[in-house]
């Protein structure tokens, strides 16, 4: 696998150095791996800290800025950050109004953020946590680690970020984040495996002519493998998997998300099919976002996320945002 890197050990640090020069509106601490909006801490504003393994860009560093995250902690590729990073991030953004940790439901992310919350509270920082677990591909039972957090992370960070920007208190920002997660469902498919820099070759074998249904964003295989399907068939399968699990009565936000290696040409075509199924199933789409937002290195494929919104959530979603990866209304 040919990669545009120096050595595997330095890919995250190298990316952060490049991000720092591209985005002077952010403070990028390359050594400690924390990305913070330049004006933090903002007086009276709740801090929003997220993070997770690298390899999902623009998630999360690309979502730092006014209207969204206050700080992000990138871990190694597909590996959660360590508590030291999160505590440092919390300290950098806390104005005294408290900090919300937005955590995707992966064992490593959960454990490290839990440890970080304890350490940050020892330092006198008020911490709340919200767990994102929107992936309907994972059987949710007492005997698994639960559903993964995927595309809904963007909606949680955007809507909670807008509420925090308005100066809403920690309890309210946390409640909104929780509501967005509860209202969201996702499903993903992979047309190819991705290659981590450390391994240098695809993390699983996916023969030509087959696809993985219900794939995650960490290069782990999905729940089921089938012969290759058309965009129309994949849209039917994905949307139906989501609607089997939720019954939206209100309009939804729709994210048609690329995994990294699928071009926009295909994503827009896929979006047309997704919208067709939603119309057939009587689901109204309030806003649509198409692009690479929660990626999985060089994996080909896409995921669909729906989030049921009321007027308040839609207003917060539409509020101005200015980050490297998401920007509107400014």
């Amino acid at each position: 696998m040919r990669m545009l890197i120096n050595v595997a050990e330095s890919v995250v640090a190298d990316a952060l150095r490049g991000m720092a020069v591209a985005h002077p509106e952010l403070t990028v601490d390359v050594e400690n791996r924390v990305v913070v909006r330049r004006d933090a801490p903002v007086d009276g504003k709740v801090g929003l800290v997220s993070g997770g393994g690298s390899g999902h860009e623009p998630l999360h560093g690309g979502f730092v800025g006014p209207g969204m995250l206050s700080a992000a902690c990138p871990g190694e590729v597909f590996t959660s950050p360590v508590p030291d990073q999160m505590v440092r991030a919390a300290a950098a953004v806390d104005s005294g109004a408290g900090v919300l940790f937005i955590v995707k439901n992966y064992t490593g992310d959960v454990l490290n953020f839990d440890m970080a919350a304890e350490l940050a509270e020892d330092e006198g920082i008020r911490i709340a946590k919200v767990l994102v677990n929107d992936d309907v591909a994972v059987t949710d039972s007492l005997y698994t680690a639960g559903r993964r957090g995927t595309g809904a992370t963007l909606f949680v960070e955007k809507i909670a970020g807008a509420a925090a920007e308005e100066g809403q208190p920690l309890e309210r920002v946390e409640a909104l984040a929780r509501q967005v997660n509860e209202n969201s469902r996702s499903f993903g498919v992979a047309l190819s495996a991705c290659s981590t820099p450390a391994k240098g070759s695809p993390t699983f074998d996916l023969p030509a002519g087959e696809l993985e249904l219900g794939v995650g964003i960490h290069g782990e295989p999905g729940r089921e493998r089938r012969a290759m399907m058309t965009s129309r068939e994949i849209a039917d399968f994905s949307v139906n998997a989501i609607l089997d699990d939720m019954n939206p009565r209100n309009p939804v936000l729709l994210l048609v998300n690329g995994m990294g290696a699928t071009p926009l040409l295909e994503l827009y075509g896929f979006n047309a099919e997704v919208q067709r199924v939603l119309t057939e199933r009587g689901v109204a789409v309030a806003r649509t976002l198409v692009g690479n937002y929660v990626t999985s290195l060089d994996m080909a494929g896409a995921s669909v996320t729906l989030c049921q919104v009321d007027e308040e959530l839609l207003r917060l979603y539409d509020a101005p945002v200015r980050t490297p990866g998401l920007r509107w209304g400014v």
Partner: protein
């Protein structure tokens, strides 16, 4: 009796073994995980060896507490908090004694393994590091060699299991037929412990 030197040897031997086996651990992590277990642990134990050389704690408990804290600070993922907690809680249970008996080590290690089970919510049979650690602690009163054999057996025995914790659990039945990378690295840790004991015996002669 086991002194701080013994525990330093244990950590150094674990680091050497993780370095040697990193690629195998990552290969085991590819079909059911995300192919980074070896590189993550290597980063952590390299840092452990470095900090133990720099700070040279003088009690068994302090060696393990420092090593555990270092793993939490450098590994990330689930392995960082889980291995970090194992060593920290074992170290805390050893207290401040300059030397500890093998029986004390067994009790402390059991406390460490219990803490890992509480943190990760995993039980034996879930296809995790616990499947190597629990049999090892059970066998430790017999001998270090018995603990090593039990850990290695426990790691192998994860192959037919369906994962119920960690990233492999997302694969459901598709996780069956693969040896768990976490149980495999846990067996390396116990093997290094037995190795440290044998090296100590050789030195005593």
């Amino acid at each position: 009796m086991l002194d701080a030197d013994f525990f330093r040897r244990w950590m150094t031997a674990t680091a050497a073994s993780v370095e040697r086996e990193a690629e195998r651990l990552t290969a085991l992590d590819s079909p059911i995980g995300d192919a980074d277990h070896g590189s993550n642990l290597r980063r952590g134990f390299t840092a452990v060896v470095a900090v133990l050389e720099k700070d040279a704690p003088d009690t068994p408990g302090a060696v393990l507490v420092l090593a555990g804290r270092q793993l939490i600070s450098t590994v990330g993922g689930a392995s960082g908090p889980l291995y970090g907690t194992l060593l920290r809680r074992t170290g805390k249970a050893l207290g401040e004694a300059a030397e500890v008996s093998e029986a004390q080590l067994t009790d402390a290690l059991r406390a460490g393994v219990d803490a890992v089970m509480a943190l990760g919510g995993a039980a034996p049979g879930d296809k995790t590091m616990i499947d190597a650690l629990v049999p090892a602690v059970d066998a430790l009163p017999e001998s270090f060699a018995a603990a090593r054999a039990a850990a290695e057996e426990g790691a192998l025995a994860t192959m037919p299991l369906q994962a119920r914790k960690g990233r492999a659990s997302y694969l459901g039945e598709r996780s069956i037929g693969h040896q768990d990378p976490g149980a495999t690295s846990a067996a390396l840790l116990i093997t290094a412990l037995a190795g440290a004991a044998e090296a100590g015996e050789a030195a005593d002669v």
